[in-house]
């Protein structure tokens, strides 16, 4: 049965191997160079004088732009492709073409027939996704170091071992849909829709709750991201933007400035503590790389064009710090692999459930 599965799987595995080889070639040709540039140019710069590295970092981020997109897209879509092209047709093709009347009258039980196919092609899917992810994760190493945003879904989903879980899940999902909807094209379409839906659901509603996030309280300081903004509507007053928590590679759920009672500073308080903040005219200033919230003006640090003086700033901050603290809710960076492992296990568990269901259904089907 294993040999038969390989016989029927020949073409698909050849296509996959060719594609994987192409990726490996691209990665092998450009990866070392990328790492070299990082080691010799970017890393030393960041160590010596982080603030002045802007252009260097920008240039680095833009290198091999096309390949960056291609590799990321590859890891993103490969699980879905495996579900559509390896999973959905596995049983649906036999049902649609009538060849199940040949396959299920040989001296092999239906269960064994399907179980071996699930096992062999499922393993191949996992290996393919694993190798691809390995290569892409390695290649993106330097770039990910610079961005320090491993928990961001646009990075987390495309690195490490989670693509293996996605691929396995998509494949088994495809097979199950093919057993229930025994025509190939509808099975492929349904598999895609359900897979995308499941990925969205898990990322949005399951992943945040896999572990309880930590909370960290810190003093509000004049550091990048800090700002006082005017609300966009007339009369909506000032609000406080806490500084960036400076937790590289962490997943920040929330970053709010609150007092003992959990209330944010009111507009009146801010206006009295930092009177220079009202009336607009402010701009970014040299200490800020912060985001602006609302479409009001953001006034921050001292600048030549009429920002607060150092004393005014100091007074403002002292007043704020007396009552308010910055509370950051986050997953620390060192939990990255735990999250990778747990999410992969979740998808693997779902795959096992689906596999059991589809073995049960294939017996009932047609009969």
């Amino acid at each position: 049965m294993i040999r038969l599965t390989w016989l029927q799987f020949r073409l698909q595995s050849a296509v996959a191997l060719a594609a994987l080889a192409a990726v490996a070639l691209a990665v092998a040709l450009t990866g070392p160079q990328l790492a070299h540039v990082y080691d010799t140019v970017v890393a030393p710069c960041l160590q010596r004088a982080p603030d002045s590295c802007g252009p260097t970092v920008s240039a680095f981020n833009n290198s091999d732009q096309l390949l960056q997109t291609v590799l990321n897209d590859a890891v993103l879509i490969v699980p879905a492709l495996l579900g559509i092209f390896w999973g959905a047709p596995l049983v649906a093709r036999e049902l649609e073409r009538g060849t199940f009347r040949l396959a299920w009258t040989q001296s092999v039980s239906r269960h064994r027939w399907l179980a071996v196919k699930l096992g062999v092609v499922g393993l191949a899917s996992a290996v393919l996704a694993g190798l691809l992810s390995l290569m892409v994760t390695w290649w993106f190493g330097p770039l990910d170091q610079v961005h320090a945003n491993r928990f961001d879904p646009s990075v987390f989903d495309l690195r490490g071992i989670v693509p293996i879980g996605y691929a396995l899940f998509a494949f088994v999902l495809g097979v199950t849909v093919g057993v229930l909807a025994p025509r190939i094209l509808p099975a492929m379409a349904i598999t895609l829709v359900v897979f995308v839906g499941a990925r969205y659901a898990v990322t949005t509603w399951v992943r945040p709750h896999l572990m309880t996030p930590l909370q960290q309280t810190q003093t509000i300081t004049y550091s990048p991201g800090f700002g006082l903004a005017q609300g966009a509507d007339a009369g909506s007053g000032l609000f406080l933007i806490p500084p960036d928590p400076n937790l590289p590679n962490a997943w920040v759920y929330a970053n709010v400035a609150v007092d003992q009672a959990g209330q944010p500073p009111s507009s009146q308080f801010l206006q009295s503590a930092c009177p220079w903040a009202t009336g607009g005219g402010g701009d970014g200033g040299s200490g800020s790389t912060g985001t602006s919230q609302g479409s009001g003006n953001v006034t921050t640090g001292p600048s030549a064009s009429g920002g607060p003086t150092a004393d005014q700033l100091h007074a403002c901050l002292s007043a704020i710090d007396a009552r308010f603290h910055d509370v950051v809710t986050y997953q620390p960076a060192d939990r990255y692999w735990t999250f990778q492992g747990v999410e992969t296990a979740v998808y693997a568990g779902l795959s096992l459930v689906l596999a059991w269901l589809c073995l049960w259904w294939v017996r009932q089907r047609i009969a």
Binding site: G98, R101, L102, T105, Q106
Partner: protein, 298 residues
């Protein structure tokens, strides 16, 4: 004699429609059985129930003493070729033989290779490029080479040209001559029945109309012609299958265990084709076949 296929009250329903109803059969071993009936009569349903591709709605069926597809071993004792001779178009002829060898412990590679060679099939050719006759022969080879005790064929020659049909039957009969195998095949063509089959089952409109060894059926059925008269003047023990009256003459097709003693009737044997046609033209609905009155004006 043990029955290769035994059905009791077997029925299969799709939605509201009964594809097969109240089917009770005991098909003996070691025979070539013809399952005859018009299209849509339920032949494919019965055969697919026998190999476990369908599950019954009512009643039971056992094949070689076990429920169909009860185990891998039982699947190995039954060979099946479905109606459209499914094969994998992208696999070669040789690949199909490998499929047979890998999936069937009782596979006889020498027999398979011999047959393929005798048929002139190229093992490297893709099965999708074969003609209809070649496909049927490949499918038959796959079913035969696992040395089954029972071979079930669903309309194996329906889509074949006369030469391919003849060659298919030649190959099949050769294998039967080698001994031991029972064959059940369905067809809606009556012409080949008498030369190929020992046992006959007539299935019309989801019901079994008549079943039995062909020699016995031919011995028991008679055509009676004589002057026109009422049916109740027949002695008991005669079972009228078909009747037609003209102004002066009555013609009956009758099944009876003993000889017909009434001198007014001219008694003749019935050919197999006429016998099958008579049962096929019977009215639907009754479990016991009854007489059909047909006024034929001449």
């Amino acid at each position: 004699m043990t029955a290769v296929i035994a059905a009791a009250g077997l029925g299969k329903r799709y939605g509201r429609q009964w594809a097969l109803s109240d089917c009770t059969l005991a098909i003996p071993a070691g025979q070539v059985v013809g399952l005859v009936g018009p299209n849509g009569a339920g032949k494919t349903t019965l055969l697919q129930l026998a190999v476990g591709l369908l599950a019954p709605t009512t009643g039971t069926i056992t094949v070689l003493g076990e429920p169909p597809a009860a185990s891998a071993a039982q699947l190995g004792r039954v060979g099946f070729v479905a109606q459209d001779t499914p094969i994998y178009p992208t696999l070669s002829v040789g690949d199909h033989l490998r499929l047979g060898a890998w999936l069937n412990p009782s596979w006889d590679q020498a027999l398979a290779a011999r047959r393929i060679q005798a048929l002139g099939l190229d093992p490297r050719q893709r099965a999708g490029k074969l003609s209809g006759g070649q496909r049927a022969q490949l499918a038959l080879t796959l079913a035969i080479a696992k040395r089954p005790e029972l071979l079930i064929l669903d309309e194996p020659v329906a889509s074949l040209d006369p030469l391919a049909r003849r060659e298919f039957l030649q190959g099949l009969m050769e294998v039967v001559a080698e001994g031991g195998m029972s064959v059940v095949f369905s067809t809606h063509v009556i012409a080949d029945l008498e030369r190929v089959c020992d046992y006959l089952v007539v299935l019309v409109a989801s019901r079994v109309r008549v079943a039995g060894e062909i020699d016995a059926l031919l011995a028991e059925h008679r055509r009676l012609t004589g002057p026109r008269r009422d049916l109740d003047t027949l002695p008991p023990g005669q079972h009228v299958v078909e009747v037609s009256h003209t102004g002066r003459q009555s013609t009956l097709l009758v099944r009876s265990a003993g000889p017909i003693l009434d001198p007014a009737w001219t008694v003749e044997p019935v050919g197999l084709e006429d016998l099958v046609l008579a049962y096929m033209s019977q009215a639907q609905g009754t479990a016991q076949p009854g007489p059909t009155l047909r006024e034929v004006s001449r």
